[in-house]
């Protein structure tokens, strides 16, 4: 964008800075300490640039929209361009990505096993995530989508738990297959849109075709389905979720945080950005199914949480439940539904990061994450207990914190939507019941881990509280959760500037 008469290519910068950071960090195998600092520096610069960009955008106009375009392949038969752009939704996700990568880098300072590669992978992942959220060309979108996959795969298989290879390969194959299905969808869509002319992969071209009515209703339904399948596995939505708990349980904390907080959002982002925007008729025909599977995900995820013995697995399942909320908001195809779904994406990103960090602390400071082995930890780990409680309360939707606004908005949107069919009003009970179940598994988990009798099943003398860098990272996140919970309009007003997808009425 242009500022003060100078044209600054912010979007390309946001890709290049972490990329350079990744390369620089990767080669520093001899100086592990310096590698950590370099990674911190680069993620810090990225965050600073992102914040500046966001500020300039908000100062420049009221709509947070910007784009950059670079020609790439431009022939008579094929056009793929390096198109990037942002709107109210993208800018939020980009901000979230930059902030979380920075916080995760602070949090992971304890990492002593090949730190240069570890942090390089995190920065590489940032490149991919940024790319996905700003791509305006389907080819580009797909490339970045796949780019995120590889660093995550290596993070899990290189720094994970005992079953890391199984989890990593499962994660890879599962999401890769989903990506391929999505790719088929993208190709079919672009071929159809080009209607024998130039194969144009840009978002703009396909959108134009969609407005022109090139996609027949049947075609829309089919393409919506293909793309949705790819996105749903990423979110993940029951029954395509089983890679997630395994991946989380084995992944290192930094990996889990980025996976749950930003990577899962790629799925819902894709649904809003592509499925709803290009295939409004397809969205309508899929709507009942979407609502049903969203509700199933919400309740199923919550129930599965109750049964878990591993703290981290429980948090992983809670992500399924909360991403189900996102899908519910999207599936309503109403203005409020979409807006609060995006709000929930943002809120869940912040909250779930706290939760996974807390699980990470339990793992390496108490020695285990198995709930039956823990108990009475609040005595020896008061800070840990405080963060855990804050995270859990935020996640169960305590008013005054950011999660509440999101859940309130989505369920209210659902209520509003159901007013068109009052005889179905009762199904809102499922959404409400999940609030109760969520409170149930969190308070039960707290009762068994931080309260009650001090455990004798682990070596209690070795237990130590949260370290200083971890406190820093967790405090930053908790502060954001509280600030955006008390002043949700800061976020919501950005979301409201986004042009609504075509599928929304």
């Amino acid at each position: 964008m242009e500022t003060g008469g100078i044209e600054i290519p912010f979007l390309i910068l946001l890709l290049l800075i972490p990329l350079i950071g990744a390369v620089v960090t990767a080669v520093m195998s001899k100086k592990p300490k310096r590698a950590k600092n370099v990674a911190l520096l680069f993620s810090g610069i990225t965050l600073a640039v992102t914040l500046m960009y966001g500020y300039l955008l908000s100062a420049a106009s009221t709509v947070y929209s910007d784009s950059e375009s670079y020609a790439w392949v431009d022939t008579e038969y094929l056009r793929i361009s390096f198109d990037m752009g942002v709107d109210g939704m993208s800018i939020l996700m980009i901000l979230l990505t930059a902030a979380l990568v920075f916080i995760v880098t602070i949090f992971s300072r304890y990492e002593s096993d090949r730190p240069n590669t570890f942090f390089a992978l995190i920065l590489a992942m940032e490149v991919g995530l940024m790319g996905v959220y700003m791509a305006q060309d389907y080819f580009l979108f797909y490339i970045f989508w796949e780019v995120t996959l590889i660093p995550m795969y290596f993070l899990i298989s290189g720094w994970g738990g005992p079953r890391r290879h199984y989890a990593a390969i499962k994660f890879f194959i599962y999401t890769h297959v989903a990506s391929l299905i999505m790719l088929i969808g993208i190709f079919m869509m672009v071929f159809e849109a080009s209607a024998g002319g130039t194969l144009d992969f840009t978002f703009a071209a396909v959108k134009e075709a969609s407005i022109a009515g090139i996609f027949s209703p049947v075609m829309q339904t089919a393409l919506f389905g293909l793309l949705f399948l790819g996105f749903a596995a990423k979110m993940p939505i029951v029954p395509f979720h089983t890679w997630l708990p395994d991946a989380h349980v084995e992944a290192p904390t930094a990996g889990s945080v980025l996976l749950a907080a930003v990577m899962l959002k790629m799925g819902s982002y894709g649904i809003i950005r592509i499925c709803l925007d290009i295939f409004p008729d397809g969205a309508v025909s899929w709507q009942p199914a979407l609502i049903v599977i969203a509700l199933v995900s919400i309740v199923y995820g919550a129930y599965a949480c109750i049964a878990q013995k591993d703290l981290k697995k429980m948090v992983a399942f809670s992500s399924i439940s909360h991403m189900g909320m996102v899908l519910l908001g999207i599936a309503l195809l109403t203005e409020l539904g979409i807006q609060f779904a995006i709000f929930q994406m943002f809120a869940h990103g912040l909250i779930t990061s706290v939760l996974f960090m807390v699980c990470g602390v339990a793992g390496h400071n108490a020695g285990t994450r198995e709930i039956p082995l823990l108990g009475g930890l609040a005595g020896r780990m008061p800070l840990f207990a405080a963060f855990m409680m804050f995270g859990f309360l935020a996640s169960l939707g305590l008013p005054g914190l950011v999660g509440f606004v999101a859940e309130f908005g989505i369920i209210f949107a659902f209520f509003e939507y159901l007013q068109t069919t009052p005889e179905l009003l009762w199904i809102i009970v499922f959404a409400l019941a999940s609030l109760l179940l969520t409170a149930g598994y969190y308070t039960w988990a707290m009762q068994r881990t931080i309260f009650g009798k001090e455990t004798t099943k682990i070596d209690i003398e070795k237990v130590h509280d949260v370290s200083r860098t971890e406190v820093l990272a967790l405090t930053a996140l908790c502060a954001m959760i509280a600030i955006f919970g008390l002043m949700p309009s800061l976020i919501l007003e950005v979301i409201q500037t986004m042009p609504l997808p075509m599928g929304v009425f």
Partner: protein, 670 residues
């Protein structure tokens, strides 16, 4: 009206500076009370009060679609009464805590931070200008109570068993009230959708209510009442409150007298304009209240734990308040809905009585809990069987407790007498007026009268067992009277427990009802609350003497059984086989029922889903992958983690893409 902003800030004061501990928390409570006084004085002497207008100030919080949510302050005389008594009592509890929690060491900081936030939550709730804001503070209180009930949930002074219990009680309190909260939240959806705003000024506007869909208004009121049932421990969600006794006694006093459970009753009083839209809703409210009052009183009859007896009495008294609001509202609703004329003045009695009793109850229940705390502090036990003869060693505590007992039992001239009598009168009224549900109300009146008798009995049973006779257990060593920081609040409160009832003769009735939207006076413009009128109504009413007599018989019976031992209490439970006795002790088997529901609906289903997940869904996934790769042997080979394998997998993907592309190209005819 400028102090308002400062007031809200002060509410959060103690929390922000929690490092400072005791002094700051106590000072913030004093400041909160002082500011409540200033604000109330400014409002009650201002123009707004004399013209029946609330003071409202708010800012926009969140806007979406056509809906707008605000954040602000709403003050009418009900607000003034509520914030005065809750901040006053909280202040005394804070002072009392200096002595009671003195030995907690480092945990004091946490304690004072949490009770400060608790008070802030209550004051915020009372001052809220809309339902959402109220809900936020409502939940903040819920969390504070969770933390405080579980205050000893680790490293309990009485050992690990007790800390497990505290942790479990805290969870139960949170979850049971959460069930109510979810109803409340659903109520918010209904109201927000109906009125596009949750501001009291909009929702209570008669024109808006009239143009809204009646069904929606009723549904909204019912769902709000669901929240009340959870928070104010009404039947059938009453069961968390006795368990909540696991926290420090000061916390019980705070929850029972000044804050949390009163929030539910306040919510009914506040949303009266919605509730009175339908007589049946009000009938339901009254029935729930009466049933709660009765069953909780019976549960208190044979309990041996001094704090639990008080907990049951709280539930029972809350039932009274809810019943009064229901009965009064029923009259108003009948008049508005069906045009059945009721004496306008009488219709206001229910509302006045409910709020009046809430205030009186706050004084005497805080007194009783703090007295019990003083006893526990001195003896180190909560079991009344081990107490006895304490009046000699703890004169101040025993006298102040006696005043509290007389007050709650409704002994003439004590504060509980006036408000309880008004409640009974209000319950009787629909029957006297010959309304449709008159017979039901007659039955409720009977329940309430029996409850009055039971209350007098179990309260004096407690007093005699604790203070009268000889020490029963020599192993319990009494340290003697508690420190001044504990006895002075007791003495102050006993003055109020004795005298707050007389306030009704000095215009309190007017203050409570005069300009509170929804109360009878607001609609019918009744100003008959002259002291002479009220006094006349009470003295000339035969039922006054009936309930008075019942209370006296209750006290006498307790005296005979536990002081003079003329009737042996053990006879009622010969050989421990009495079914009734066991039934009461098991709290009507409610805890059992809850546990079963939680186990079956919660854990049972969860186990099932977990099994399904591991075997069916994940099994299918693994099965497919095995089939694709060609048996488990091949899969294991892949999992060995050679880069070569992944490369070949990706290559496989690329080939698949090529194939599809080719297919598309040929079939598409490009």
């Amino acid at each position: 009206m400028i102090p308002l902003l400062a007031f809200v800030v002060v509410g959060f004061f103690g929390n922000k500076f929690k490092g400072g501990g005791t002094a700051i928390a106590v000072l913030s409570a004093v400041a909160a009370f002082a500011l409540s006084g200033v604000v109330s004085y400014a409002y009650l002497t201002g123009d707004l009060y004399s013209t029946s207008q609330p003071y409202v100030a708010s800012i926009k919080w969140l806007a979406f679609g056509s809906y707008e949510l605000n954040f602000g302050i709403y003050i009418d005389s009900l607000t003034c009464v509520m914030m005065l008594f809750s901040s006053f009592i909280s202040m005394l509890i804070f002072v009392y805590s200096i002595g009671y929690m003195g030995g907690e060491g480092k945990k004091k900081r946490r304690y004072y931070a949490e009770i400060s936030l608790f008070l802030a939550g209550m004051l915020g709730l009372v001052l809220s200008s809309n339902f959402l804001e109220m809900f936020i503070f409502w939940e903040i209180m819920g969390v504070c109570s969770y933390l405080l009930i579980g205050f000893w949930s680790y490293k309990h002074p009485e050992g690990d068993e007790a800390s497990m219990k505290a942790a479990s009680a805290a969870k139960k309190a949170f979850l049971v009230t959460r069930l109510g909260d979810v109803c409340f939240m659903a109520g918010l959806f209904v109201l927000l959708w109906t009125f596009t705003s949750l501001d009291f000024t909009v929702v209570f506007d008669a024109a808006n209510i009239a143009s809204a869909e009646t069904g929606m208004v009723i549904l909204g009121a019912l769902l709000l009442f669901g929240g009340v049932i959870g928070k104010s421990a009404q039947f059938p969600l009453q069961d968390w409150l006795p368990d909540a006794m696991a926290g420090p006694t000061t916390v019980s006093a705070l929850i029972h007298a000044a804050t949390m459970v009163k929030a539910g009753v306040y919510l009914i009083a506040r949303s009266y304009p919605l509730f009175i839209q339908n007589a049946d809703v009000m009938l339901l409210v009254a029935i729930i209240g009466a049933v709660t009052a009765f069953i909780a009183a019976t549960m208190a009859l044979n309990n041996m734990n001094i704090k639990r007896v008080l907990a049951y009495s709280t539930i029972s008294q809350l039932g009274y308040m809810v019943m009064a609001l229901g009965a009064g509202g029923y009259l108003i609703a009948m008049e508005m809905q069906h045009g059945v004329p009721t004496a306008g003045i009488l219709a206001t009695v229910g509302f006045t009585a409910g709020v009046f009793h809430m205030m009186n109850h706050a004084f005497f229940k805080a007194l009783l809990f703090m007295g019990a705390g003083s006893v526990i502090h001195a003896t180190g036990t909560e079991d009344m069987r081990k107490m006895g003869g304490l009046s000699k060693k703890m004169r101040k505590t025993s006298w102040t407790m006696l005043i509290g007992c007389l007050s709650i039992a409704g002994f003439p001239l004590f504060s509980g007498f006036w408000s309880k009598d008004m409640i009974l009168e209000a319950t009787m009224e629909p029957s006297i007026a010959g309304l449709a549900a008159g017979d039901i109300f007659l039955f409720l009146f009977a329940l309430a009268a029996i409850t009055a008798f039971l209350t007098a009995f179990y309260m004096f049973r407690m007093w005699f067992m604790t203070f009268h006779g000889k020490p029963k257990d020599e192993s319990i060593h009494c340290h003697g009277e508690s420190p001044k920081s504990m006895t002075i609040p007791l003495i102050i409160l006993s003055i109020f427990a004795l005298g707050s009832g007389f306030l009704i003769f000095f215009g309190l009735g007017d203050i409570i009802t005069f300009n509170v939207s929804g109360s009878g006076a607001y609609y019918f413009g009744g100003d008959g609350h002259t002291p002479a009128h009220i006094f006349d109504a009470i003295v000339t009413n035969i039922w006054t003497y009936v309930t008075m007599g019942l209370a006296l018989i209750g006290i006498l019976l307790a005296y005979l059984m536990y002081a003079r031992s003329l009737i042996n209490p053990a006879r009622f439970n010969a050989n421990g086989r009495s079914r009734v006795y066991r039934f009461l002790n098991a709290r009507y088997f409610f805890p059992e029922l809850y546990d079963q529901i939680a186990l079956k609906l919660g854990f049972g289903v969860a186990k099932g889903i977990d099994y399904l997940d591991k075997n069916l869904i994940d099994g299918t996934v693994n099965g497919i992958s095995n089939a694709v790769v060609g048996g488990s042997g091949a899969l294991r080979k892949i999992q060995t983690g050679h880069v070569r394998d992944y490369v070949s997998l990706i290559a496989l993907g690329v080939i698949a893409i090529m194939a599809i592309l080719a297919l598309l190209v040929f079939s598409g005819g490009i």
